[in-house]
């Protein structure tokens, strides 16, 4: 993966495939420029046996091909910067994946267009799940919640063109100043 935004899109897609109703993604950049990304979903979750093997690239729930690269790739990139990836999961309750990156590390991939990734997640999944995004630095905070938007739209889909533009503007306005940290 060329940048962190691609990892975020890929990992969040796992939550979508796990039939989550709500997917939360939070970004925290601390004063030492460590980035923590936490993905939380209420999807099907994983049994302990699968959880133990999930960072192995030849482990996947997919039946067509026995390769699952998303989690191994983010783990490798996080560890290259001295960071970690930890996963907690319970069948029927959901999964939380936490990845940390040292943004100052020479091997840390660029952030990439994170706003486009957040927009893409919403547009590709207009019906379900709901997405809750949160970002925080020591001096700034942003949040976005499709449940609030869905309520205001009352039946109009999130991927209608005018709605899309509104969501794009809202995400850029809120998150760009925080997530363009490199």
């Amino acid at each position: 993966m060329r940048d962190l935004s691609m990892h975020v899109l890929d990992i969040a897609q796992n939550s979508v495939k796990a039939n989550a109703k709500t997917v939360s993604i939070s970004f925290t950049v601390d004063e030492h420029r460590w980035l923590t990304i936490v993905f939380t979903d209420d999807g099907t979750g994983m049994a302990p046996e699968l959880l133990q093997k999930v960072t192995d690239p030849f482990t996947t729930t997919r039946t067509t091909r026995k390769v699952g690269l998303g989690i191994p790739l983010i783990k490798e990139n996080a560890e290259l910067t001295g960071g970690t990836v930890t996963i907690e999961s319970q069948p029927g309750k959901g999964t939380t994946l936490t990845a940390t990156f040292d943004l100052n590390h020479i091997d840390c991939p660029p952030m990439g267009d994170m706003c486009d990734t957040l927009l893409t997640l919403v547009l590709l999944n207009p019906d379900q799940p709901d997405f809750v995004f949160h970002a925080q630095t020591p001096d700034r905070e942003a949040s976005f919640d499709t449940r609030v938007i869905r309520q205001a739209l009352d039946g109009v889909a999130l991927n209608e063109p005018e709605v899309t533009q509104w969501i794009r503007d809202a995400i850029n306005e809120e998150f760009k100043p925080i997530l363009e940290v490199q």
Binding site: M1, R2, S5, M6, L9, D10, Q13, K17, R62, T64, R65, G68, L69, G70, L73, D113, D116, T117, L119, T120, L123, L124, V148, I149, A152, L153, D154, G155, V156, A157, N159, E160, P161, E162, V163, T164, Q165, W166, D169, A170, E173
Partner: protein, 124 residues
Amino acid sequence: MKSIAELEAIRQKTLERVAYRKEADNDIRVVVGMATCGIAAGARPVMLAFMDEIKKRGLTNVTVSQTGCIGMCRLEPMVDVIVPGKTKVTYVNMNPDMVPRIVTEHLVNGNPVMEYTIGAAEDK
């Protein structure tokens, strides 16, 4: 600052158009491969380029959706265009610069851009 109140106006405007479109029920589908391989190869900007081009041209009979890995990762980003009543066309090795031409020639005028298709890629 974007406000939730703005969404109410958007909602009213959109409802009329959506009602009209449902009656038509002949949507063209653009399906983008968004598995790990597709994402790593650049599927996200391709998907957003389709969204932008469709909006720019005011095409109300086109929906953009996603699919997973279909096993030809070397040809990602891949996009299927499905026009009702016609054979599915698969575009491969896509990038955002290819999108306006596909929208103009295929989605609007009904002529697939053959040089971007999987058939042309396999012949090389």
